[in-house]
Symmetry: C2
Subunit: 485 residues, 2 copies
């Protein structure tokens, strides 16, 4: 199986596709721009989903479900919102054999349908805060699609909250950004830069968009989650006022925030290698796979020994399986489980058995360690924990090594290998640069290098002094520029 | 709050709507025929979902996700299937601002899109069985809708499996029917009759449809879940052949099976009363609510005592909450939690506290029991378990009392209060009758009484002898006839 995977050096895009298809994570579908998430891909999403869901509930949110179809007129109520989403809509014009009086779009996001309901539900400050999350499918008609990373239909969660005050809404926006950062870094082992989007890059309808930005192995950025402070924009669009504590009447303050199945793509791209998928133990359907090695005369005893090891691992709460399929060789199985990304392999042969040992093999480093069978559960648990940490640290090191401070436009053009710089093979990365705040500078850089302003990192915005790396005007912010998915 | 609920005797339909709206389980939406599932309704669905999901995985199934949009031409590949679903389709004709070359429908069910993929994935008997489940939203354009029970968009799961042999596929169909029966009866406390549908009532595209049928408090039937043996119909429609163990080539055998958010409606209608929702402990977001009763001078000590009780319950793994809201009276809270259906209420006042006791109040029977505080967790656990059993037994008794053996057409017409029988106030129920197997008899009865053939109960089909209750011809089956949702 492993030879089916194109090496990253040869063709990074093809490497990614080869892993997704060969590890059976997803498949192309006969529906334009839409993918099928296969069981092993969906199992990763389920684990991501469960952890986020736990964290959302822990922070006081409840799940609910709103209609997938939205009257077209609803989108038009918020001017920036419709402008941003209109080009990407799928539109239902017939229902039950009849042409509809008003067409519906399939939700590209649910602010409008949700705020039309919030108008019914919110009357007084006693109804606030309203903290609702929805797990759902959405459709955004995309021209260029890529498995998991960008598909016309995708699965996501969208939080939509309503608050009494601006301060509370901003606090919520940042609280959820922090939940995102924490889960993506600790559970998915994907390091991120939390920051603020520029006006150009913010969500259509938001006052301010916060983001977590990650770096893939080709040094491109991938937006891993966003949290929006919506101000009173949607409350005004849907006329949602509430009686304040002092008897007045005011518009409600809002947030929304989302992560999607693209995170599965982020995980694949961040950790995998030329042998296939590499998964953090938290996300792998199996943490450990046991592969027995035997000939006819040793089969029964090796399998019995392997069963005992399996029982010990399960007893310790480790998600372990035994691959006792007789129709393929141990070597074939090694390659197969490496392709599938199982974090830890345990090899058991007659000699291991005779010595009262097993062989632990790490997927991430290929490191082999003989372990006494009595300590197999404890050592596995310890090793899995080390893998979880190591994956994150390796990715962070890579990200940091490819984050470069850049002070001038020529440097920036060289960094991204712009035409005429003679650095067409420059691989780019994250350019950390001072910025004047002008959209023209952003647009100009994008035209020359395809790099966009990914975010203004939080906690790097103090004491800004110096000049914009792009135009030389006085700088207002420090920003990360990068090519992106 | 409680006075908002129309009594069942006055208007059963309105009673149901009042409970759904006042207990904030769901709401009407601005999208025709679609509902919003509010947090307390969605929490019930999440618990139903989790239990089914666990059981599906236990029986070897994996979750996956297929596109929501299906090319219209796919539906036409199976003649009965398209005939059954075409009148209910929502059709997408525009995407990304352009008219689509081929329109897509929003899935009304996913056999066609899934079997188009199974063609890619299944080549050999080694690829079988393929056991996949999907949790998804579907759209069937409905003219008459009812919250939870029938809405144009609803949430469901659909299992789609592929097998080597007919026998295996039939075994799977029945296995999943049994999972449905067990979860619906034991977890939802809704008694059901498992049986086979008639040709008239079977799924469009199935060879045979199995069902579990429940009885609501107005004695109408509600189909709670179906499991279909699809034969080779979809394998032939999508040309899915596999290499057999003996080197031949054959079409694959298939099943599909589904339950939906209508089960939430079934739970509400089966257990609730004129005070509001009644929920089995398994499904309630809170198993126990503690309501403290105090005056100013006893407030601090009662709350401290209540906190201790809360801790004891939580310690024992019971989902308990303390309603310490100061802005409403205990009496108002009692009514509110009765409306919400919390199975067990614990009242704690100064006198209870002085006696080292608390007062347990069952939602289902209103029975009050003073309990020594030291045993509160054990007694609550025991009482919750009794409620779970009692709800099922009460519903089964009601169902059995309203299941009547009927031998002749005049009796049948009287039972359902058909015109001209002088029994317009007959309330009907389940009519258990012998049946000749003819669709004409079914259609005739439906025209006269609105009653349909709900199912031919499994295990009641042996030694059939006698005459069809409808036409007098020799009987082939025993069937349940009822009006239905």
């Amino acid at each position: 199986m492993a030879e089916k995977i194109t090496p990253r050096e040869t063709d990074y895009s093809q490497w990614y596709i080869d892993i997704v298809l060969n590890a059976k994570l997803a498949d192309y579908s006969p529906v334009k721009g839409c993918m099928v998430i296969r069981p092993r891909g969906y199992a990763i999403w389920e684990r991501i989903q469960a952890e986020f869901d736990r964290r959302f509930k822990e922070t006081g949110h409840s799940n609910a479900y709103f209609p997938m179809l939205i009257p077209m007129s609803f989108l038009q109520k918020e001017a920036e919102h419709v402008e941003g989403f209109a080009p990407e809509l799928a539109v239902v014009t017939y229902g039950g054999g009849e042409k509809l009086e008003e067409p519906y779009c399939i939700r590209p996001t649910s602010e409008t349908i949700i705020w039309s309901m919030y108008k019914e539900w919110i009357h007084s400050w006693r109804d606030l805060p309203l903290l609702i999350n929805q797990w759902a499918n959405v459709v955004r008609w995309e021209k260029r699609t890529r498995l998991f990373l960008r598909t016309s239909e995708f699965l996501w969660q969208e939080g939509h909250t309503a608050h009494e005050t601006e301060a509370e809404a901003i606090e919520e926006t940042l609280r959820m950004l922090e939940v995102y950062r924490d889960v993506v870094e600790r559970y998915l082992c994907v390091p991120v830069v939390p920051g603020v989007k520029s006006e150009t890059e913010k969500f259509a309808g938001a006052v301010r968009t916060y983001t977590i930005e990650s770096m893939m192995q080709d040094r491109k950025a991938l937006q891993a989650g966003t949290s929006h402070f919506l101000g009173q924009n949607f409350a005004k669009a849907f006329d949602v006022k509430y009686q304040t504590r002092d008897g007045g009447l005011d518009y409600v303050w809002a947030t929304s925030w989302g992560i999607s199945t693209r995170l599965v793509g982020a995980v694949i791209m961040t950790h995998s290698d030329d042998k296939g998928l590499v998964l953090p133990p938290t996300l792998s359907p199996e943490e450990v796979v046991i592969v027995p090695i035997y000939k006819n005369d040793s089969k029964a005893s090796v399998l019995q020994y392997a069963d005992k090891v399996l029982a010990m691992l399960k007893e310790a709460g480790i998600r372990a399986i035994l691959d006792s399929d007789d129709s393929s060789s141990p070597g074939w199985k090694f390659a197969e489980w490496e392709l599938k990304g199982t974090p830890l392999r345990i090899e058991i042969g007659p000699r291991d058995m005779a010595a009262g040992k097993v062989m632990l093999v790490r997927r991430d480093t290929a490191e082999k360690t003989p372990v006494a069978v009595d300590t197999v559960a404890a050592t596995s648990r310890q090793t899995l924990s080390e893998i979880q940490t190591a994956l994150f640290e390796r990715a962070r090191k890579f990200r940091d090594e490819n984050t470069v401070q850049i002070d001038t436009l020529p440097e920036m053009l060289e960094f991204f290998g712009a035409e005429g710089t003679g650095t067409a093979d420059a691989h780019g990365g994250f350019a950390s640069a001072l910025w004047c705040g002008s959209a023209e500078c952003e647009a100009d850089l994008k035209a020359k290098t395809k790099a966009t302003l990914r975010c203004m990192p939080l906690n790097q915005q103090e004491n800004i002094s110096g000049r914009c790396a792009l135009c030389g005007a006085p700088a207002k912010h420090r920003a990360i520029f990068a090519r992106n998915y």
